[in-house]
């Protein structure tokens, strides 16, 4: 996907000014947050389960190479090819090669974030292979001129029913429908033809299971099953950090993933796919490929940001983030939105390419509280800010401002004098009113709210006077 994270602020302003998006976000917020709150109550030992999930993920990431090797062996023993990709370009090259080798003209896809990271659809098109997104949300985005998703679980959460109705009418040349079951039926009819005619299926993977060489897919639509069982060739693309040791670990993580994501006890489909179609079996691919992708992950292993690799992509952090709730996911400018994206995007694409993202959070820690694998997201965001300062990536006036503030604040007499003047000046500016509508010193602040007027004397002044009195 094209990186637009450097335009975060502009993107956010556009999102704030978009009434359809605003209305959709408001609706979605309650749904995700409330449903999760109910669903986690079903687990008696929720905190202990979180801790266990965190341990499972840590165990893998601390010895990632060993677990990947184990996975590779197990998968190969069941007839799969395991390939490795360093970056997005390599993903594209490998998938196109596989497609060419097997004479593929059409590829049906279920959701894969890695394919978004790589911009795979464009590469397939360029190679003469038609990609068809089959997740309903992703399909809607694809027919809308390859619009980027706004959420990792609900990619079109920002769109209204009306917009989708228009889009279907235009694309399918059918009478306009606004009834959701009718719309999904129409999509299903269109997609069915694609499932049956595609030679290749491309999917992501929620987890890779080392002991069996399997991939686990967690979905709510039947498309994942079609994509992975109908075509002759199945390509799984995942990040290297997605591996977990055992099926039992999968069971633990599955108690948390759907509950954190959509507030479901379990998702509609959980598939554990192992190996190619064996003799006598009626479905499954003849050729199975795993493409395991680094794209910035290996460098995070062993770094102070390693905790982030535990992420199981549930989306709870974004659902609960006040900033995400206000501007939606596209503003974050890359594949992963919300707090997780604000950490991942700079880590995977470069600190300098996402200069605003680590700051696009109030550090309210709602994300850290809901994260099922206990990733300390606010701490990681703060650390990224520190890295930016170290590398002189922040604007000079901002760096100077904090230096100056610290310099003054470490000199009590100077600080006392400075603040005395400042509060008097502000009080004078307010001109008898309770708040100041426009303040040159804090233009951003007063763009959307007034600046309350200070009392006019500092505490230290008044306290000193009181002492004398």
């Amino acid at each position: 996907m094209k990186l637009r994270a450097h335009r975060f602020k502009q993107n956010a302003l556009e999102a704030l000014a978009n009434p359809v998006l605003q209305a959709s976000m408001k609706k979605a917020k309650g749904k995700f947050v409330d449903k999760r709150a109910i669903a986690i109550k079903e687990i008696d030992d929720f905190e202990a389960t979180r801790e266990a999930a965190k341990e499972i993920r840590n165990r893998v990431i601390e010895n990632l190479d060993l677990w990947l090797e184990k996975f590779e062996q197990a998968a190969a023993a069941r007839g799969a090819h395991v390939l490795w990709a360093k970056d997005g370009a390599e993903i594209c090259r490998l998938v196109v090669d596989i497609g060419r080798k097997h004479g593929v003209k059409k590829a049906v896809k279920s959701k894969s974030m890695l394919s978004e990271e790589a911009g795979l659809n464009l590469a397939l098109e360029a190679a003469g292979i038609q990609p068809v997104e089959t997740d309903l949300g992703e399909y809607i985005l694809q027919i809308n001129d390859n619009e980027p998703p706004s959420h990792i679980i609900a990619p079109v959460v920002h769109k209204s029913l009306d917009e989708v109705a228009d889009l279907f009418q235009k694309t399918h040349h059918t009478p306009r429908k606004t009834d959701i079951p009718q719309l999904t039926r129409e999509a299903r009819e269109v997609l069915r033809q694609h499932f049956l005619s595609a030679e290749m299926g491309i999917s992501g993977g929620n987890f890779l299971i080392a002991e069996t060489g399997s991939v686990a897919l967690v979905t709510n639509e039947g498309n994942g099953r079609m994509v992975t069982t109908l075509p002759r060739v199945h390509v799984v693309i995942t990040g290297i950090e997605k591996v977990i040791p055992t099926l039992e670990d999968l069971a633990t993580l599955m108690r948390l993933l759907p509950r954190s994501a959509t507030g479901q006890s379990i998702s509609n489909y959980v598939s554990v796919l192992t190996g190619t179609k064996a003799e006598g079996e009626s479905d499954g691919p003849e050729h199975l490929y795993f493409i395991l992708v680094d794209n910035g992950r290996a460098e995070v292993v062993g770094s102070e940001f390693q905790d982030m690799l535990r992420c199981i992509r549930c989306g709870a952090c974004m659902n609960h983030c006040p900033v995400y709730q206000t501007i939606g996911g596209q503003a974050y400018g890359w594949v992963y939105p919300g707090p997780m994206g604000s950490v991942l995007t700079p880590l995977y694409t470069g600190l300098e390419n996402a200069i605003d993202l680590p700051h696009a959070a109030t550090l309210c820690n709602q994300c850290g509280v809901v994260c099922p694998v206990k990733i300390p997201l606010p701490d990681l965001l703060r650390k990224l800010r520190e890295k930016q300062v170290e590398r002189h990536l922040r604007p000079w006036f901002e760096r100077l401002a904090f230096r100056l503030w610290a310099w003054v604040a470490s000199r009590p007499a100077l600080y006392g004098l400075g603040t005395r003047f400042a509060v008097r000046y502000l009080k004078w500016l307010a001109d008898g009113k309770g708040s100041i509508p426009r303040l040159g010193l804090a233009p951003e602040w007063t763009r959307g709210r007034n600046f309350p007027t200070p009392e006019g004397r500092t505490f230290r002044e008044l306290y000193a006077q009181r002492g004398r009195a």
């Binding site: 109030t362 550090l363 309210c364 922040r394 009590p412 951003e444 602040w445 763009r447 709210r449 200070p454």
Partner: protein, 240 residues
């Protein structure tokens, strides 16, 4: 009980009366209150903006000023938490300082937490008649577990009617420098908070962190609401 009051830089500049209210409450709880004269800022803005050097400078200053006291109290959950939770991390490369930070950490309290759990304040000196709603500031709530304490204190005022708002625990959009870096996003979040608070029909929105309160008040006034009061809990509890 000897208590050092950390006034916080925002209270010092913007609402000194909160500082005096805090002193009154602590004295009402039987504490001897000292206000170290050289105190300025705990350094939280610098730390949250990634400036470790500036944060460390102010952390050391704070430690030197306050480590001699049995207790340190601040009328702000986020500043209290900054000293408690962040100082040891800020000073991780200087073991001596870090040890001093750790030694100080457990003696630092947010005001209402201290009044309820340590000083066990019985008689609240203030009075307030009418309906209020309480905004739970993020850091105090999620890091220090401050939820019941302010409510317990407010319950001691016979004429206060507490009406909880929807999303009381949701962020108001202040976020320190966030509100200065991303004014519009921050204001949009504040708008939601104000709408939820006003829907309770409360005459006053009350909270424990001045940063959030200034944010909420600024948004209310911009929305044309000149009547809803926005008060620090110490002001309500002392009628200051």
């Amino acid at each position: 009980m000897k208590v050092a009051l950390f006034v916080t830089c925002l209270v010092d500049l913007m609402r000194p009366r909160i500082g005096f209210a805090a002193i009154e409450l602590l004295e009402a709880a039987g504490c001897e209150v000292v206000v170290p004269a050289s105190q300025t800022c705990c350094g939280q803005p610098a730390w949250n903006s990634g400036d470790r050097a500036a944060a460390a400078l102010l952390a050391k200053k704070f430690i030197a000023e306050f480590e001699g006291f049995e207790y340190v109290v601040a009328p702000s959950g986020s500043c209290a938490d900054h000293v408690r939770s962040e100082y040891p991390a800020i000073l991780q490369d200087e073991p001596d300082w870090q040890a001093r930070a750790v030694a100080l950490a457990s003696r630092v309290y947010e005001l209402t937490d201290f009044l309820v759990n340590v000083a066990k304040l019985d008689n609240v000196p203030g009075s307030f008649a009418g309906r209020i709603t309480y905004h739970d500031s993020c850091t105090g709530l999620r890091s220090l577990g401050i939820k019941a304490q302010p409510r317990a204190l407010l319950a001691k005022l016979p004429d206060v009617e507490l009406q909880e708002m929807n999303g009381a625990e949701e962020c108001c959009g202040f976020g320190g420098t966030f509100s200065v870096k991303f004014g519009e996003i921050s204001a949009a979040i504040a708008e939601r908070k104000c709408a939820n608070a006003c829907a309770t029909g409360a005459a006053a929105i009350v909270g424990g962190d001045l940063g959030c309160l200034l944010n909420i008040e600024g948004k209310l006034r911009r929305m044309g609401d000149e009547s809803t009061q926005v008060l620090h809990i110490a002001e309500v509890l002392t009628a200051k």
